[in-house]
Symmetry: C2
Subunit: 373 residues, 2 copies
C-alpha cells in the first residue's frame, strides 16, 4: 500500500513542479504585458480581455474533463499576482505637465500607497506632515495638486488651514465622509476641487478592480486626467453626490462597524471561550467571527471617527436598535409564524440578490474551507 501511494505521490509531485515552471513563465510574460501597457498608458485591469480569456479556458477545460470552475478560480488567483507585478513596471503619466503633487498626511498608510502610485507614474510628490506646517506656504506655492489624506476628524480643519493655493491647483481629499470636506474645499479654494473615497484599505497590492468613489466639486475638466490615471492603475470609478455618498456610508460603514463593535463587546462581556467557539465552528461562523475580530486589530480612533461623524449615523443606529427590540418581541411571544412572515418580507426585499449572495458566499466559504489547516 505504502509503495503504491509513494509511486503516485511522486508522480503528483512531478506534475506540481511542472506547474510551478509554467507559473514562473506566465508571471514573466505578464510582466512583459505590464511593460507594454505602461508604455502606452493602458489600464492594468482589462475586463473584456479577462472575460474572453476565462470563457475560452473554461471551454477547453470541459473538453479535457477538468472542472471549468477549477481553471477559472486558478486563473483569477494568478491574475491577482499579475496585477501586482504589472504595478512594478510603472505606469504612464497621463498629465506630463503637472507641477508637484503635495500629499498632506503623506506618511499615513493611505498617503504612502498613493505616493507610491503617483511616483511609479512619474509624478513628483511632496509630503506635508504635522511638523512641516511652518514651511507649508513654500511647499504649496507651486503645487499642481494637493491631496488631503488625514484622519476624518481633522479633515475639514486641515483644509481650512491650507494657505492660498495656485488658482489652477487641484484640491482633493480622501476622507470616508464626503459632504463636509467637499464644502470645506470649495470654500477654501477657488480652483478645481474633487472629493474622492478609495473604497479599500492601504494593504491592497494593486488597485485592480478596487472601487474609487468620486464627488465632483468644481471644474471637472481640470481633473479628468486624474480619474483616468486611477483607471490606468486598475481602479473602477463610481460617481455620486456627496450627500448620497454619506447616506449610503451610514449603512456601509457606521451601522455595520457599530454592530460589529457591539457584537465584540458582547462576546468579551460574556467571556465565552473563543477556542471552543472555533473548535465547534462551521466555516461560515469562523468567517463571521474573523470579520468581527479583524475590526479589533485596527485603529479604534478611525472607527470612533467614522461612527461618530454625523447625527444621521446615530439616528440610523437607533432605528436599528428599535427594530432589534421589536424582533425580540416575536421571540418572547414564541411567534414562529410572525418570524417566518418577517423573514419572507426581507427575502422579498433582497429579491434576486438572496440566491446570488448565497452562491457568491458559498464559493467563498469553500475557499475558506480550502485554507483550513
Amino acid at each position: 500500500m505504502v509503495a503504491e501511494l509513494t509511486v503516485l505521490r511522486d508522480r503528483i509531485d512531478e506534475v506540481d513542479k511542472a506547474l510551478l515552471t509554467l507559473l514562473a513563465q506566465r508571471l514573466e510574460l505578464v510582466a512583459e504585458v505590464g511593460e507594454v501597457k505602461s508604455r502606452y498608458g493602458l489600464p492594468i485591469y482589462a475586463p473584456d480581455r479577462e472575460a474572453a480569456m476565462l470563457a475560452s479556458r473554461r471551454k477547453e477545460a470541459e473538453t479535457l474533463g477538468v472542472p471549468a470552475d477549477l481553471i477559472e478560480d486558478i486563473l483569477r488567483r494568478v491574475m491577482r499576482e499579475s496585477y501586482s507585478s504589472e504595478n512594478d513596471k510603472g505606469f504612464k503619466k497621463l498629465c506630463p505637465e503637472l507641477r508637484p503633487i503635495v500629499i498632506v498626511g503623506g506618511n499615513g498608510q493611505m498617503g504612502r500607497l498613493f505616493r507610491k502610485l503617483f511616483e511609479l507614474s512619474g509624478y513628483q510628490v511632496r509630503i506635508l506632515e504635522q511638523q512641516d506646517w511652518p514651511q507649508a506656504e513654500s511647499l504649496l506655492s507651486d503645487a499642481g495638486m494637493v491631496i488631503v489624506s488625514v484622519p476624518i476628524h481633522i479633515t475639514t480643519q486641515i483644509i481650512e488651514r491650507l494657505p492660498k493655493l495656485p488658482e489652477d491647483c487641484i484640491l482633493v481629499d480622501f476622507a470616508s465622509v464626503k459632504n463636509k470636506p467637499l464644502q470645506a474645499m470649495l470654500a477654501a479654494h477657488n480652483g478645481p476641487v474633487v472629493g474622492l473615497h478609495p473604497m479599500f484599505g492601504p494593504d491592497v497590492n494593486s488597485l485592480a478592480k478596487q472601487v474609487v468613489v468620486y464627488c465632483d466639486g468644481r471644474q471637472p475638466e481640470a481633473y479628468q486626467w486624474l480619474l483616468e490615471q486611477f483607471q490606468v492603475w486598475g481602479a473602477r470609478l463610481h460617481r455620486t453626490s456627496a450627500v448620497e455618498h454619506d447616506q449610503n456610508m451610514s449603512f456601509i460603514q457606521a451601522l455595520r462597524h457599530f454592530t460589529t463593535f457591539s457584537y465584540g463587546l458582547h462576546l468579551a462581556e460574556e467571556n465565552v471561550q473563543i477556542e471552543q467557539l472555533l473548535a465547534l465552528s462551521s466555516p461560515i461562523y469562523r468567517l463571521e467571527l474573523a470579520m468581527i475580530g479583524r475590526l479589533f486589530a485596527q485603529d479604534p480612533q478611525l472607527y470612533a471617527d467614522i461612527i461618530m461623524s454625523s447625527e444621521n449615523n446615530l439616528a440610523l443606529i437607533k432605528r436599528y436598535y428599535q427594530r432589534f427590540g421589536e424582533a425580540i418581541a416575536l421571540l418572547e411571544k414564541d411567534d414562529k409564524a410572525a418570524f417566518i412572515d418577517s423573514f419572507k418580507k426581507v427575502e422579498h426585499w433582497f429579491g434576486d440578490y438572496a440566491p446570488r449572495f448565497m452562491s457568491e458566499s458559498g464559493s467563498l466559504l469553500r475557499q475558506a474551507n480550502d485554507n483550513r489547516k
Copy 2:
C-alpha cells in the same frame, strides 16, 4: 501596440493550455490515489502529507521566483477538487457486518448527503419518510443503525415515536441542538446512542476538513467504527458534552442568525437601494452584505427552529440587546474616549486572534476581490 500585446497574449494562452493539461493529469493521478485509499480504508484528508507537500512546493516556488502564497493557494484549490474526485471512488466499509442503516428523513438534503456517503462505502441504506410510518416496524426490525435526520422542532417527537429497536442497534441524530435529542434517544432506546452535529450544510462536495461534533450517549465502543468512518470520508471529529455544545451553539447559531435576521429586517424597512450599496461597496462590505443576504435565501422554518430552540438563546439575545443599548449611550454622549476604551477591552479579549483574524480574513477578501466581475 496591438501587435505587441497580441504576441504576448498568445503566448500566455499557450501557457494556460499547458496548465490545463497538467491539471487534467493531476486529477487523474489523484483519482488513482483515491482508489488506493478506498481499497485500504485510508482517510481522504491527510493533513501531514498535505502540510509536507505544501512546504516543499513553497520552497521550490521561491527558488523559481514564484510567490509561495500563489502556489499554496492554487494547490489548496486543486486539492478541494481532488477530495471530491476521491469521493467518487467509494470508501472502505469499516463495519462490514452492519445490518441495514435506516435514515429517518432520508429524503431531506442532509439525509440524502449521508445516504450517498454510506452507500459509497458499501452499506445498505433504507429511508423512512413521513408516508412510511405504517411500515416503520418492519423497516426498523433488523436495523443495524438508525439515523434521525429531521427538522429540529420535531426531532424529539420523532425519536419518541420510534418502535422498539434491536438491542444492539445504534441510534444517532443529526440535530443542531444536542441535549434534548440525546436525552430523548437515551430514554427511547437501551442500546448504543450517539448525538452528532455535522457543522456544514448539505451542499458540500466532500467531507474533507469539515467538522463533525459528537456527544457520547451510551456504549461508545459500539459506534467507534462510525466515528472512524467519518474520518475516512475526510471529516474532523470534535467531542463535546451536549450541554457545552448547546451553550456554544447559542452564540454560533442562535445569536448570530438572529442579529443577521434583524439586520436584514432593518435594511428592508429602511428600504435603502441595494444596487447603490453594492456600487459603493468595498470587498468587505459586499461580503458582509452577502453573508446577510444568504440567510434569506434559506428556509425560514429552520432558522425559527434554531433561534427559538431554547430559553437560553432568548436570554443571550436579550443580554446582547442590552449591551447594544449601552454602547449607543456612548455615542449619545459623543464619548470617543469611552468608545476607544471599550474597543481596547474587546481587542484584549480577542488577544492573538485579532491579528490572526485580520490576516485570515484579509486573504479571503483578496479572493473575494479576485472573483469580482
